[in-house]
């Protein structure tokens, strides 16, 4: 029984890691740069939703705030690419990476200015509710995190494989030059991928916030998600989710069966092992990229 609860809470954490990891992978596949602000995107999405819905701020209904927050993050991602990153095309990827690290600091600072540095809880209608299955008590919030992540993954799968724009996104990331030759507006597609990464981050943030209180430093969870993305196979969306779930599951079981102090190390230890024995990650899509 105990095991089931650990499993569900680990899975729920893992789903959040997985969603952030998917954001990393989306950006990496589209631009070959790593967006180290992805965790802070998640934080920002969570705070925007909180700012919209919490009574001490705007007090809008929860189910209105969620789509609005997701949309704002989409616009934010699109605008970031359009206004800042597109001007950096032709620069080395390192420049983009450093820019995203700096952006992370800025976002944390701005969020602290607006919403303060004290932990706040999102006024979510499902917070604190339980589901009882026989003798097991499962948090409603955790079940929802798992359910939404599952739905999100399926939606993304269909988007990337069944819609013209989704396939075009894949095409531009696989061979940018050929995409240009086919008349695919590669630059606009890249901006749209940033928008998508922002929206996925917002969903992750809202889910994370519905499980407990948040403060501007939660974006640093992005580091753990980055490890998850590498474990799963950087460049593979299912791999990112899988890596996230693995990291999420390791933590509660390690602290339960080994010692609480070791739980924090376990994801990185696993990262180490994976990098040695399977450097491309578990579900890597390895193909030679033409220069």
């Amino acid at each position: 029984m105990d095991v089931l609860q650990l499993l569900v809470s680990g899975l729920a954490n893992g789903c959040v890691y997985g969603l952030v990891a998917m954001g990393f992978v989306l950006i990496y596949k589209a631009t070959e740069a790593v967006n180290f602000a992805q965790g802070d995107f998640m934080m920002l999405g969570a705070f925007i939703c909180l700012g919209l819905t919490n009574p001490q701020f705007m007090g809008l209904p929860f189910w209105v705030s969620v789509p609005v927050a997701i949309a704002i993050m989409g616009v934010f991602g699109y605008a970031l690419d359009l206004v800042v990153l597109r001007r950096m095309s032709g620069q080395s990827q390192i420049a983009v990476i450093i820019l995203t690290i700096a952006l992370g600091f800025v976002l944390r600072f701005v969020a602290g200015l607006i919403w303060g540095h004290e932990p706040i809880s999102l006024a979510s209608p499902i917070a604190g509710k339980d589901i009882r299955l026989g003798g097991v008590v499962l948090g409603m919030d955790e079940i929802m995190v798992i359910g939404v992540t599952l739905a999100m993954t399926i939606a993304l799968y269909f988007y990337f494989n069944r819609t013209k724009l989704g396939v075009a996104m894949q095409a531009s990331s696989q061979n940018q030059l050929a995409a240009y030759y086919m008349g695919i507006p590669v630059k606009r597609i890249q901006s749209l991928i940033w928008a998508l990464a922002g929206m996925v981050a917002a969903v992750a943030g809202i889910l994370f916030a519905s499980k407990g209180s948040i403060d501007p430093s939660i974006g640093l969870l992005g580091i753990k998600s980055f490890a998850a993305a590498v474990i799963g196979g950087f460049g593979s969306l299912p791999g990112a989710l899988l890596g996230g779930v693995i990291v999420g599951l390791i933590e509660p079981f390690a602290s339960r069966y080994i010692a609480a102090g070791y739980a924090q190390i376990m994801p990185y230890l696993l990262l180490f092992v994976i990098l040695i024995f399977r450097p491309h990650g578990i579900l890597a899509q390895v193909h030679q990229k033409k220069v």
Binding site: V167, Q170, A171, N175, L177, Y180
Partner: protein
């Protein structure tokens, strides 16, 4: 200044059936001037071959036409408009499709998805479906492999896919860059037969860049020879095949008085 007019062949400055006219184009790769004032014309329904050694500027010229590179100077007249410097998607929408050197398929997408991406600029689903069947009728092997990832195809099949993908955009003019690259002689023959059929049956005007000069001239109606960013010869394909210079330098045949070892552009005054 038109090279075409200079050669005195039956090509006035701008005839009615000229679909694509390149005028005094200059393009740079960074500081290097890769195209040094090129003018040429492509007539409707023809296959025009562009010959020349590595680094002559053939691919750069094609990239400039398709909008992947911007020219520094000059005009590219197509459909009554100057398309020099237009973005690639505008050029594709206008009806010029560039099938790049080295195939450049989308390796993880299936054959069918690759073809659909060729039709990215279109939204007439019935027409796309019909053109897909048309492509499959020319390249039956692609129909068999339609659900296979393009990266798993052989080189020849990838070349067929690249041509098929280009056809999906309903081009009026197709720019084919080195379709024979890395293929066996038998496959080269097959590909060129299909190129000829596409030109005759689908009415696609073709501009062909080739290092394999013999094959390229046999299939072409007209030919241009480029050297170091300039056009040095322009004539009908038959006459180019007979030309001593072309025979010696591009077909590997021995001319009567060999001038091997000399710098090519110094051989004749007219080549400048």
């Amino acid at each position: 200044m038109s090279v075409v007019a200079m050669k005195g062949s039956a090509a006035p400055a701008m005839a009615d059936d000229v679909v694509l006219s390149v005028r005094n184009i200059e393009s740079y790769y960074g500081p290097i001037m890769a195209i040094r004032g090129v003018s040429l014309e492509v007539r409707k329904g023809q296959i025009v071959s562009l010959l020349g050694a590595n680094g002559a500027g053939k691919t750069t010229l094609m990239k400039t036409i398709s909008g992947v590179m911007d020219p520094e100077k000059g005009q590219i007249i197509y459909g009554g408009n100057n398309i020099a410097g237009a973005s690639p998607d505008k050029v594709v929408r206008a009806g010029i499709v560039h099938v790049p050197e080295g195939r450049e398929v989308f390796p993880l997408l299936t054959v069918e998805e690759n073809l659909r991406m060729g039709a990215f600029i279109r939204s007439d689903n019935a027409g796309i479906k019909r053109d897909e069947e048309m492509v499959f009728s020319y390249f039956p092997i692609l129909a068999e492999r339609r659900h296979q990832a393009a990266g798993t195809l052989s080189g020849g099949q990838q070349q067929m896919l690249a041509i098929g993908r280009g056809l999906m955009a309903q081009p009026k003019v197709m720019l084919l860059d080195e379709p024979s690259l890395g293929l066996s002689p038998l496959l080269v023959k097959e590909i060129f037969q299909i190129i000829r059929r596409l030109n005759r049956e689908q009415g696609v005007t073709m501009m062909l860049v080739e290092q394999n000069a013999k094959v390229a001239l046999e299939v072409a109606d007209y030919g241009y020879v480029m050297e170091l960013g300039r056009i040095v010869m322009a004539d009908s394909a038959e006459r180019l095949l007979q030309s001593k210079d072309v025979q010696e330098f591009y077909l590997g045949m021995q001319a009567e008085e060999s001038q091997r070892g000399q710098k090519r552009w110094k051989q004749k005054k007219t080549w400048r």
